[in-house]
Amino acid sequence: MPQNANQVLDHFELFRGPEYQDMLARKKAEFENHVGDDKVAEVREWAKTEEYKDLNFAREALTINPAKACQPLGAVFVAVGFEQTIPFVHGSQGCVAYYRSHFSRHFKEPTSCVSSSMTEDAAVFGGLNNMIDGLANTYSMYKPKMIAVSTTCMAEVIGDDLNAFIKTAKEKGSVPAEYDVPFAHTPAFVGSHVTGYDNAMKGVLEHFWDGKAGTVDKLVRVPNGKINFLGGFDGYTVGNLREIKRIFDLMKVEYTILGDTSDVWDTPTDGEFRMYDGGTTLEDAANAVHARATISMQEYCTEKTLPWIAGHGQETVAFNHPVGVEGTDRFIMEVARLAGVEIPDELARERGRLVDAIADSNAHIHGKKFAIYGDPDLCYGLAQFLMELGAEPTHVLATNGNKAWEKKMQALFDSSPFGTNCKVYPGKDLWHMRSLLFTDPVDFLIGNTYGKYLERDTGTPLIRIGFPIFDRHHKHRYPVWGYQGGLNVLVTILDRIFEHIDATTNVPSKTDYSYDIIR
């Protein structure tokens, strides 16, 4: 009997003992009709070949292990960033259970969100009654200042009209006529979670700026000197937004963060559950129309929102999730230009410290090959940083990357000798990446938690940067933007490299001459 009250064994060790190993072997031999270990080994080897890769890349219909989620997830991300706002997702309720779980597993925080719980009858008759009852219930129970509505694919397929439904619900008294219920159609079969971010953000701003669905006059822009900031869908939103605010304060920039999730996904454990915390005030969201300019940190999260804002007379600037020195330089200088402020010396010193750290450490990174996957902007920012470090971002893959992104990535590769042998893979998934890691191996892989399966199968060490990160804790609290963020990314990469070097040089009398105490 392996179990012991004094040293309780759980799944990590319990099943490794002879009792369980024996049992599992018999199960396989007697009841699973298993094909045999030789056959498995044969197919496993075949799946590493060029031949397999070609078949894999010839796939037209099947998606395996994609690195993207669906639109409403992005809409929920947007909604929780506004003051006392509840995301309300119109459609099947299971979707909402999924979004809440997904965010909670990443942030280790509660995520409040409601559903209109549509079922078969709503599929036949439409979900109007669900909207009417749902808004009334949410309003009574959770006393939000705003309810931000988006849709699941069910509501989209049957063609529910949010604008009309919300109007009717207000007429029926679900919520007061003047109550803020911005909305966005977010079909899951178009784009990905970054598209949902875009649609939902535009929906909220459209609501406040363009007359609240025809119920009040459109706001007339009276330009001021403020800068609006859009972070995009970002797994590091807590650390990043705090860092951005610190930078803006240092620079004495007047700003509005549109969709500030940094408090609601980082509430204290002090005896009180805060369903709402922080967030962009509704007043600020409305007044953002008057800003001088709007910055988007993630171009592909704001493909519709940013041009729409530009249409309101603001200057707009988009970045691609800048990470590292040059990306941050451009960001800081653009902010200074737009806001008409001097860049404080403190930032120059922070920059110098990042450059200092790179100078100290880049020898361990220079010439190393990396594979990167994730959202399009994150991939771009990381690839740019790796090339600054003298590394080669050999494979860069975004399941939700489009043609424009492909072109932009290629231009980035073309801008540096370190990009010469690099290739961009828009619309591909992690099973494609698996083939690439076998046929064209790299030294390290950068991606989210699901990259651990690639690490296991291909032996490529994984550096966890992206969304979601489920199996490491608290990474979202640390910024990856700004020079400080660049330092965090650098250390994350270096730590994994050093761990890998140590783990591959620790066999006594065989490899441990390289098991150095100083690196």
Partner: protein, 499 residues
């Protein structure tokens, strides 16, 4: 003083009734009327818990429930390891449920087993407009080419499939024929069907009946039959639960021919109609197929409970009662073998946990099945409810598990659950990931009772030791003493729900 420290049952009942009235006040009238039927205080001797169940969730209230797809792909089918389960529709459903349920299995993932992979048809607008059947057929071809060792395919329908009129049955039949009778199972588990995960379980069970059992006809058993063949039904091997259960059944002399569905294989599904007895753990999700096998193949089934030594002992004897003396003696030998371990576990943890109050809100069998395990540790479950239970679950709960005065909440809303915990101030809440951080913020110790909070197994004797350790580490962690800010005035209550 914690309200739950009251020992007078009448006072507890009165408090709980008042609490129900209080939470109902927040709702609009129509909603209050509907929710009132799902909340009750258990009265000893009643045949059920006095709540309505398996009814549509109310829009906008923050139900914790999922959908039929979650019940089929996420629960019943997903763990069958040597088949490929296609999440058919847009990308999200498969993505959010990807490897999240910790259904442990042995196999070379991507080669002969596929549980922790996400296969999706990733529907685009054109698939919605023109239909996805051709794409589905092509997907099956691509699966055959890239994963030659797969033993079958299931099509797990997401919402759009049923709305756009796709004929996944026709595609499945045609492809099965093309691939020499390969098992290809279309499952109509669109998320809008039914009121929760529960209908998804039922639909998935029916799909096994129609597309696995009926297809194999009278094929002889692929293994040598014995009088002691049993199948484990309704154990999803979360953190290895089915393994720490299987070992006990084997030790008492039984032969486990199949696991449904944790670490299960298509061969095991097909073997089950040849078993002598089906032992059923999660009644809610797999009673349907058990009943079917009883009717069609004459296989009796018996419910059991492998949480905590009291229930395990009772269950081992109950299972043994279907067999001869050899097995009955085997059961006694198993009970005796593990007795010292159980005594040592209880001796270690009971003094640390005695008298602690627990509130549960979970799915499947757990709102009742884990109560005995807590009681073995001297703890008391003061509130419980089912995410997607039916009346037969509440009957079983009332008749066997809960104590007089227990607060019962069916399909609880976020608001109700928080208020109940705020007022009752339990020492531990056991629920899911969506609830975990809410209660931890309130300073209330919490364990996820779906995923075992990434621990486990909790089933069987080996699992009980882990269960006890985990409950102790949750409740007695030093962190909870630190939640109140020392320089702030001590609040009257620590656990404060959101206003």
């Amino acid at each position: 003083m914690s309200v739950s420290a009251q020992t007078d049952i009448a006072a507890v009942k009165e408090r709980n009734r008042a609490l129900i009235q209080e939470v109902l006040e927040v709702y609009p009238e129509k909603t209050a009327k509907r929710r009132a039927k799902h909340l009750n205080v258990h009265e000893e001797g009643k045949s059920d818990c006095g709540v309505k169940s398996n009814i549509k969730s109310i829009p906008g209230v923050m139900t914790i429930r999922g959908c039929a797809y979650a019940g089929s792909k996420g629960v019943v089918w997903g763990p069958i390891k040597d088949m490929i389960h296609i999440s058919h529709g847009p990308v999200g459903c498969g993505q959010y449920s990807w490897a999240a349920r910790r259904n442990y299995y042995i196999g070379t993932t991507g080669i002969d087993t596929f549980v922790t992979m996400q296969f999706t048809s990733d529907f685009q607008e054109k698939d919605i407009v023109f239909g996805g059947d051709k794409k589905l057929a092509k997907i099956m071809d691509e699966i055959e080419q890239l994963f030659p060792l797969n033993k079958g395919i299931t099509v797990q329908s997401e919402c759009p499939i049923g709305l756009i009129g796709d004929d996944i049955e026709a595609v499945s039949k045609a492809k099965s024929k093309e691939y020499g009778g390969k098992t290809i199972v279309p499952v109509r588990c669109e998320g809008f069907r039914g009121v929760s995960q529960s209908l998804g379980h039922h639909i998935a069970n029916d799909a096994v009946r129609d597309w696995v059992f009926d297809k194999m006809g009278d094929k002889p058993a692929a293994f040598e039959q014995t009088p002691y063949d049993v199948a484990i039904i309704g154990d999803y091997n979360i953190g290895g639960d089915a393994w720490s259960s299987r070992i006990l059944l084997e030790e008492m002399g039984l032969r486990v021919v199949a696991q449904w569905s944790g670490d299960g294989s298509i061969a095991e599904l097909e073997a089950t109609p040849k078993a002598k007895l089906n032992v059923l753990h999660c009644y809610r999700s797999m009673n349907y197929i058990s009943r079917h096998m009883e009717e069609k193949y004459g296989i009796p089934w018996v419910e059991y409970n492998f949480f905590g030594p009291s229930k395990i002992e009772e269950s081992l004897r109950k299972i043994a009662s279907f067999f001869d003396d050899k097995i009955k003696e085997g059961a006694e030998a198993v009970i005796a073998k593990y007795k010292p371990l159980m005594e040592a576990v209880i001796a270690k943890y009971k003094p640390r946990l005695e008298g602690k109050k627990v509130m549960l809100y979970v799915g499947g069998l757990r709102p009742r099945h884990v109560i005995g395990a807590y009681e073995d540790l001297g703890m008391e479950v003061v509130g419980t409810g089912y995410e997607f239970g039916h009346n037969d679950d509440y009957q079983r709960t009332a008749q066997h598990d809960v104590k007089d005065g227990t607060l019962i909440y069916d399909d609880v809303t976020g608001y109700e659950f928080e208020k109940f915990v705020e007022k009752i101030q339990p020492d531990l809440v056991g629920s899911g990931i969506k609830e975990k951080y809410v209660f931890q913020k309130m300073g209330v110790p919490f364990r996820q009772m779906h995923s075992w909070d990434y621990s486990g197994p909790y089933h069987g004797y080996d699992g009980f030791a882990i269960f006890a350790r985990d409950m102790d580490m949750a409740i007695n962690a030093p962190v909870w003493k630190m939640a109140p800010t020392p320089w702030k005035q001590e609040p009257e209550e620590y656990a404060i729900a959101a206003e």
